[in-house]
């Protein structure tokens, strides 16, 4: 009771009109209050930039086998399993390809694919969750049960089944679009979407339930608003914070899934240099050329830690806002 009495004036005081210098100092206090989140966010920004522009920075192509002549040498032999040096920042692999370039190219599959898949999942999942949460009744009962049964299937098993059935089917179809996108990319995205839509729609649904009977929603009905307006203009804003937190967390799980499948040899197919696949290929070299393993593993670890730190920071920020 006592705390409640005083919570409000404080909330009033906090966002008081702040001049520019004041805002800057607030940013600084925000950073010092939560430095890890900002390190994570900085990491995420760097990784996303690499995804977008990595291939432009890469000195070589991902599947180019580098021969001595390429770096001014005389031999035509492939430079296999070279340790890191000024020429090859991360060294070369057992077939003579530049690991640094491969990682830059591979960021697309390792980060880009999960990102796209997560975005698709969030769009479908939140729309579905908003809808069934708002409509309720029999529709909600039926769809919720279907989603529950999807959630109950272990992610890895679903992925294995999907990939072993879909990829051959897609490859056989002969469609140009599929060929351009790559059958394995499509199937991986489908797997992630299938796994995430139920989870995200469940979160959107429960957040919707908590605002569905609010006065402002009833007021909207009483002025004759349509379902679309109520869902996306009235309910979505209050559901969004929960969705943002969930999406940022889901993204790092999607990266883990893609790299894990890659490591099992079921993910993005060669010669695409997806990082999990690179770990798989380097596994046999662990004693002779350990750097082949180091860099992809380090890349995956830093990537996931960055995303987790950022999502933690987002959650804390939104909680404070409330």
């Amino acid at each position: 009771m006592a705390e409640k009495d005083y919570a409000e004036p404080a909330a009033h005081a906090a966002p008081a009109p702040g001049s520019a210098p004041k805002r800057r100092s607030r940013l600084r206090t925000a950073i010092t209050a939560n430095p890890l989140a900002f390190i994570g966010a900085a990491g995420v920004v760097i990784f996303v930039l690499l995804t977008l522009f990595g291939p432009l920075l890469a000195p070589y192509s991902y599947d180019q086998i580098i021969r001595g002549t390429d770096i001014g040498g005389e031999t035509r032999r492939a430079l296999t399993s070279r340790p890191p040096s000024a020429d090859f920042l991360f060294g070369t692999d057992q077939r003579g390809r530049d690991i640094f370039s491969r990682m830059l190219w591979g960021a697309r599959e390792t980060i880009g694919l999960p990102l796209v898949a997560t975005i698709i999942s969030v769009i479908i999942g939140s729309s579905l969750g908003l809808f069934i949460g708002y409509v309720g009744g029999l529709v909600d009962d039926i769809i919720s049960r279907i989603l529950d049964s999807l959630i109950s299937i272990p992610a890895m098993v679903l992925a294995l089944v999907m990939i072993s059935t879909i990829v051959p089917l897609l490859s056989a179809s002969g469609s140009r679009l599929i060929a351009v996108l790559g059958p394995s990319n499509i199937s991986l995205t489908t797997v992630i979407v299938l796994i995430y839509v139920p989870i995200i729609s469940r979160i959107a649904r429960s957040a919707t339930l908590s605002v569905r009977d609010r006065g402002y929603i009833e007021e909207a009905k009483l002025r004759g608003e349509g379902t679309m307006h109520i869902l996306f203009r009235q309910i979505l804003p209050s559901v969004l914070p929960a969705l943002v937190v969930e999406a940022s967390l889901r993204l790092s799980y999607a990266i883990i899934l893609v790299t894990s499948l890659g490591f099992l040899g079921l993910g993005v197919q060669p010669p695409s240099p997806e990082w999990g696949r690179m770990v798989l290929d380097a596994r046999t070299q662990i004693s002779e050329a350990p750097w082949e393993l180091w860099y992809p593993v380090l890349g995956i670890a830093v990537l996931i830690i960055s995303f987790n730190l950022m999502s933690d920071g987002i959650r804390r920020l939104l909680r404070n806002e409330e």
Partner: protein
């Protein structure tokens, strides 16, 4: 002079918010004498709960006592250690909290929780503690203590749990009982019984009590001495009769003048205290009330008045109390200007006929299996008529179906049966079949201003959207904005509010925005469900005045729902009293409330706490609580609690509708004239109240 049980000297408390310590309570002085029930009154944010909790040395984590002494039993509670304070808590000082359901452990039986206290503090054995618990429950008029002791908290009704808490608080014969809004969550009739019980018990146990409340009515009914807090400072403290008869501080005077009953039955405007209380940390060296005080002078704005002894044991913190006491100046004039523009016309704006609603039948599983779930009949064949330019008041306790009726009319709930006509045009019971014209004419103001506005949309977006959707002609963006700004001014806000979000508005401001939104498309009927129940007294007055002004200006009608009879009787032309889903009495406001005929209305009126210590009386005690609509009594639904029950006829036969003058109707076996005669003869013998109630009847909630 007697030694006080507890005395607080110069108490200051601070809260940490962010990195700062902000002062919440400043130099409060308070003394409670033996046998005294001391009322601590204030609006939300005044620090009343903080002071009460500090007095028993129990503060929130982010609070600290920065100064002052709390003397209890010759020692300063601030200096006694943790283990010593635990000996005092529950033994010499006990607490009856606001939310009682939270205060009992849901997984332990009542017996365990009650005996724990006595065994711990009195050092008695299990059997003796059990016997004592039984005695204590019998003391709070629980008929079958053995039954109650063997139950879990959730098996008891709210009123029953409150009795258990009181019994528990008194079981160690404490010297001080702190009552923190103990009846806020209860219905009026239950509240009346509990307050009556508390008053007697505290005297009987020779304890002293601190009663914390925002409700001046209950304070007047219960307390001997009152301290008024505002913005963390004592404004005035005085014996209850003197405080209510002649307040010496402008704030106290304002609070009293805000109450709908202050107009003495005339429909004069209520007094408004302009402005809002200063927020935490914004407190200056001036008098804290100066900004809102109509009598403030330069002195008031420059320096803080001391808390002065005003004689007869009264304390006042005001520079001008002598002038006020001498009657030279009056802080808040109650205007006698009655304004009644165009009186209610004869034509109907709304007629609802035979409205019925049953809940709990439409579960998917039940439909598939063809099973009929028992369900709850929330509305039984209810008919109401609202005249143009009039206000229709709906009164009843929780579970009476008043909100269900309102929501059925709005079609937020689809009634099972019934016929609705709006301005003589038939209207669908389903929202999706209502046209724009119907939506435009039927608007509503919700109870809780905090959830009636979307926190993510600005005031301008919220009201503008309503205009866009419902107004008759298409308007340009700037025309809509102009209209929104006009509406904001009409509800007493300024055009600056256009771009604000609800988080930056106070409760009263939010409610004004909600009212502006309701009136935006010029509706014919506005339904307001408890429009002021979550607001402070001073804000309530502002909103009530606003509703009244808008009715005069816009020519709309209202249906006002409230559990607060004062509010309804002040606003309404016609009143209907509901009980268990049906209307037991309806008629012109004065006829219903001044000459109550139905025994339930009579009991409701008697239970309503009047803010007048001189009008203290034992309320008509209704037996038990409102029965669950699930097992509705046969015959007259009120027969289980009716103090004027005739006999078996009430149990078996549905009472006929008796009609009086001017459409006054009641449902009772007594003819009107006969009822009036018995009521004039005096209140029913209020002897056995809860004592003879079979516990099952109350326990199954």
């Amino acid at each position: 002079m007697t030694e006080p049980v507890i005395s607080v000297e110069d108490l200051s408390i601070e809260y940490r918010i962010g990195r700062e310590w902000l002062s919440a309570v400043e130099s409060v002085d308070l003394r409670i004498n033996p046998l005294q029930i001391h009322g601590l009154v204030g609006e939300s944010g005044s620090g009343k709960s903080t002071v009460a909790m500090a007095m028993i040395h129990y503060l929130a984590r982010n609070a600290r006592i920065s100064d002052g002494r709390i003397i209890f039993d010759d020692q300063d509670l601030r200096t006694v250690g943790d283990s010593a304070i635990r000996e005092i808590w529950g033994n010499q000082i006990s607490l009856v909290p606001q939310n009682t359901m939270d205060s009992l452990n849901p997984s332990l039986r009542i017996s365990r929780q009650m005996t724990e206290v006595t065994r711990r503090h009195l050092g008695i054995g299990a059997t003796e503690a059990h016997e004592r618990a039984e005695d204590a429950l019998r003391h709070v008029q629980i008929a079958d203590p053995e039954q109650v002791l063997s139950r879990y908290p959730h098996q008891l009704s709210g009123g029953m749990v409150q009795r258990v808490m009181i019994a528990m608080a008194l079981s160690t014969r404490p010297r001080l009982v702190v009552l923190d809004e103990p009846t806020t969550a209860l219905d009026v009739t239950t509240q009346a019984v509990i307050l009556d019980l508390l008053r007697d018990l505290i005297k009987e146990e020779e304890a002293a009590a601190l009663y914390v409340s925002h409700d001046l009515g209950t304070v007047a009914q219960l307390c001997d001495y009152v301290t008024v807090l505002y913005a963390g400072e004592v404004m005035e403290s005085a014996p209850v009769d003197e405080l209510f008869a002649g307040p010496r501080h402008p704030y106290t005077a304002g609070l009293l003048a805000c109450l709908p009953s202050s107009t003495g039955g005339s429909k004069a405007r209520l007094t408004n205290i302009e402005g809002v209380a200063p927020s935490l940390g914004a407190r200056s060296s001036a008098c804290v009330f100066a900004d809102r005080c109509p009598l403030a002078t330069d002195t008031c704005r420059r320096s803080k008045p001391p808390l002065e002894d005003a004689g007869d044991g009264r304390l006042v913190r005001c520079w001008r109390w002598r002038e006020i006491a001498a009657g030279e100046i009056t802080p808040f004039e109650t205007s006698q200007r009655t304004e009644r523009a165009a009186g209610p016309s004869r034509s109907l704006v709304l007629s609802a006929h035979g409205m019925s609603k049953r809940f709990g039948e439409k579960r998917a599983l039940d439909r598939l299996t063809g099973r009929r779930s028992p369900g709850v009949q929330a509305l039984r064949d209810v008919s109401v008529e609202v005249n143009e330019r009039s206000t229709f008041g709906l009164v009843g306790e929780s579970g009476s179906g008043k909100t269900t009726l309102a929501r059925s009319i709005l079609a937020l709930i689809e009634a099972d049966k019934g016929e609705l006509r709006l301005s003589d045009q038939p209207v669908s019971l389903e929202l999706k079949h209502r046209d724009r014209e119907t939506l435009r004419n039927l608007r509503t103001v919700f109870q809780n201003p905090d959830d009636s506005l979307n926190p993510y949309r600005t005031v301008g977006q919220t009201i503008g959207r309503t205009i866009h959707k419902l107004s008759l002609e298409r308007r340009s963006r700037s025309a809509v904005r102009a209209q929104v700004e006009e509406l904001l001014t009409a509800v007493g806000l300024t055009a600056d509010y256009y771009d604000r979000r609800p988080a930056f508005l106070s409760g009263g401001e939010k409610q004004r925005v909600a009212i502006a939104r309701a009136f935006a498309p010029n509706p014919a009927l506005v339904i307001a469900d408890e429009p002021t129940s979550s607001l402070d007294v001073s804000v309530q007055a502002v909103i009530i005045n606003l509703l009244k002004d808008l009715r005069a200006a816009e020519g709309a009608s209202y249906i006002v729902i409230s559990h607060d009879l004062e509010v309804v009787s002040y606003l309404a032309d016609n009143i209907a009293v509901m009980y268990l889903g049906e209307i037991v009495e309806q008629g012109a406001g004065e006829a219903v409330l001044r000459f109550p005929s139905h025994p339930y209305t009579e009991a409701l009126l008697s239970a309503a706490p009047t803010p007048d210590p001189a009008a203290r009386h034992h309320p008509i005690a209704l037996r038990g609580e409102v029965p669950s609509p699930r097992n509705r009594p046969s015959g007259c639904p009120f027969h289980t609690r009716c103090p004027r029950k005739i006999g078996t006829v009430c149990e078996t036969d549905v009472p006929p509708v008796r009609t009086g003058e001017n459409g006054h109707e009641i449902r009772c076996h007594y003819p009107l004239a006969e009822l009036k005669a018995i009521q004039d003869a005096g209140p029913p013998a209020s002897g056995p109240s809860a004592a003879d109630t079979p516990p099952d009847e109350e326990g199954d909630r």
